[in-house]
Subunit: 345 residues, 3 copies
């Protein structure tokens, strides 16, 4: 990483420069900790206070913040997006030389491109096809008949079952499991009879899957995750779920089987979707909220209860169990009072 | 898989045949995608529309659906159960030849039956006993003094601590952890002092454990999971929990320590049970609902709040914090109105 | 483990002895199952019934329970704490001889102290520094530039990314992932652009991390977990979170990015904290409750809804969606009734 000039960062970020185009930055740092040679950014107003005294060589900020700062600035209407692009360029390490660790166990029938990196003790199954520039971390297990598209990265200890297909430039974080059996059983007089899970899992391009997230294989058809989807840690995706393009799902969310989610949706942390539902594009579900029916309209949906001091909660929440009775009493009062009023007039 | 005739499927499924007993099926497929030589099934009315045009050679359906179809039919009162049995028979691969991968690390004091399959880079501890027809996936770690019953399958990257006992024909999915320490601490003036977790984990026969599910070892006694229990992905089972026969627990559910669950219960996704509770047989807990007290009666229990459009939610949920006051005001109104009415009469 | 005398246990537990100081105990067991030579304890009143007939050689109990028992007793105001110390002493195995399994893959640039135990098929990265008495389980993957303090134990199949720092005497359970990327993206006309996650993860001393728990690395600064923090299984800790000393977090809890938690807090199972919050010391969050705002006062906070029989739930919870209207109707009734009353007087 030999660094980039402010002038080069203009190209990368699409921001406008105020100041010295030849100023060199070697890395990034928070506004309050940056030193000379570093790039910082301001996108939350609570950090504005650090602007006057920052020692960063270049700061990315919005036009509104520019008057409060007299150093080199990259001015952008979306400082976070400009920062994402600049930091990606600055943190891009040179491509490590492709290598296969001697301890990796690779089935002779696997098809592996020439410049692939395979970590120590990784295991790769038969007929699996691995494209150029793929990186497979140590202790990963990849089953038979998988496909890993160009540039896809698996961090360590990832498990792919057989017949899991990943597009290009995906990132799969450690401990994620793709292709485990969906939770499908028939009931025979009280006992569960397993329904074979014969579908696969297909991820599009540029999908990111968080640490210890699980995506089940389909029962007959595949579970589908479209291009650009981002899943955080410990997300559960049931069998035959379909997730539309550019949808983002935060940590600990769970999606029951056969539910279809539209494009550009967001599910906040620990939210849940029941099974066999259909969600339109641009549906946004709040944290710890549960969707129980089809949502055909975009917008934000919520059933989150914010925590309150325990004593007040006890008093108020106990009343929930009386709500139906309260509603009936209210109705009765309205009737009686109407009678009284008509009697009086 | 040489295929099965419709006549053979009668034996396997217990269904009645209408049509050609010699018709051969080689595999299964969804009703709308099946081609000649495939078996399909109909168990949800929304797929009835595909029945007239399916190209499946045989369809499993209920007596009520039979009039709408004139091909070969396996008629069953429970098409899903009949399908589960047929698909299991059709998807049964020949037993792979037992093999121990050269890279597996097996303690010399482990006792391993002759026809066991051990994957690459698996690690097996001392005095662990592994019965016939067990399959251990790549990168699994099995501690000392474990027992794996006949026919049990561990998928890849499973971790068993020491003294974990699995019955026969269990399936443990990738990334599951069995035998980790229970969360037990005493408090010494603000600091936590670890309580050694000295019990084990015992699973019965035909237990299935989902991907990345965790089952903690007991503090002194064992954590117990009875025959036929099915756990989905990312379930958490605390120390000294007991789960009764044929209970099924869906993804992301959590069970706190020392709780005892009866037989044939179901816990839906992301539900939770507090610790030290006792649940009767055939208790059914809805999704995202939390059980906070003993349940001595079978039946369905719920505390799920369905998500609604955010604006309406804000208005209505804000009122929850006023509920106790509202109830008092309602009581006062009732009193005052009663006085008014008695004054009027 | 040659056993300890009751007299030695006085030193270890701080309890007072009633009975024979030379009585030898070799292990621990539950009160109702203990045999001669074992230590038991009583700390929950529901087990008092076992006291009269226990065959334990020594029982730890509170002064209040002493009259009900005439055997050897270790009397403590906190029997659970005394038991934790005694059981730890009794279950302490001799330090296993340090050893590096031949199958472990250790980067030549790693710095590893002499008496470290490294399990089979573990992988250790470049420049990682591992102190005395560290134990690394089989199939663990440790990235580059990590630091593991003295006496820290990693169970099997743990994944540490690069630049993860663990203090002394930490315990990391199987399947835990530390240092995965935080969930940080900017949005470019609907598509997500990854923000490089350039911070690390730092754990203090005596931190315990449960099975399949995930702790993300910071975006620029480190994610910080202070001394004595205990995390249960399947906890999610987002990027740049800070957790104060001796805070305990139960299973399935989730903490969104940049939230700061004080000291000696407890988060119960499946609770959640939204991002960018600040919690004071000694805040206690109930199970399945969600904190949505800063909490500057210690105390207990709750938004848990207890499950009730489904039929009643349907009736009462349906009313929540009518609450705002009910409150308006209540207000109107109060007004009208006041008018009626003033008219009458």
């Amino acid at each position: 990483m030999p660094g980039l000039t402010a002038g080069q960062l203009i190209q990368i970020t699409g921001a406008e420069l105020r100041g010295d185009a030849d100023c060199l930055v070697l890395g990034v740092a928070p506004l309050d900790q940056a030193v000379s040679g570093q790039l910082a950014f301001l996108h939350r107003p609570e950090f504005r206070c650090y602007l006057a005294h920052t020692r960063a060589s270049v700061v990315i900020l919005s036009p509104e913040e520019l008057p409060g700062y007299d150093g080199n600035a990259l001015v952008s209407d979306d400082p976070l997006l400009a920062y994402a692009r600049a930091a990606t360029a600055l943190s891009k390490s040179e491509q490590p030389m492709a290598s296969r660790h001697a301890s990796a166990v690779i089935d002779p029938a696997a098809q592996i491109a020439s410049n692939v990196t395979i970590g120590a003790n990784a295991v790769i199954g038969a007929r699996t096809v691995i494209a150029d520039q793929v990186v497979i971390g140590p202790n990963c297990t990849i089953g038979d008949d998988c496909v890993l598209g160009q540039g896809t990265v698996l961090h360590s200890n990832v498990a792919l079952y057989h017949s899991v297909v990943l597009g290009t430039d995906c990132i799969i974080h450690a401990g994620a499991v793709l292709g485990s059996d969906g939770f499908g059983f028939a009931n025979d007089r009280g006992s569960w009879v397993k329904i074979p899970q014969l579908g696969g899992v297909r991820l599009g391009n540029q999908v990111e899957v968080g640490a210890n997230t699980t995506i089940d294989r389909g029962a007959l058809n595949d579970t589908l995750v479209a291009d650009g989807v981002k899943l955080d840690n410990q997300v559960h995706v049931g069998h035959n779920v379909q997730i539309g393009e550019d949808t983002a799902i935060a940590a600990c969310a769970g999606i029951a089987g056969s539910t279809r989610i539209g494009k550009q949706c967001t599910l906040a942390g620990a939210s849940g979707l029941l099974g066999h539902l259909e969600l339109a594009d641009r549906v946004h579900v709040s944290a710890m909220s549960v969707v129980t029916r089809n949502l055909s309209q975009p917008g934000r949906y919520t059933s989150l209860l914010p925590a309150t001091p325990h004593a007040g909660w006890r008093k108020n929440f106990a009343r929930i169990g009386q709500l139906d009775r309260m509603a009936q009493r209210l109705r009765l009062l309205e009737k009686k009072l109407a009678q009284v009023i008509s009697q009086l007039n």
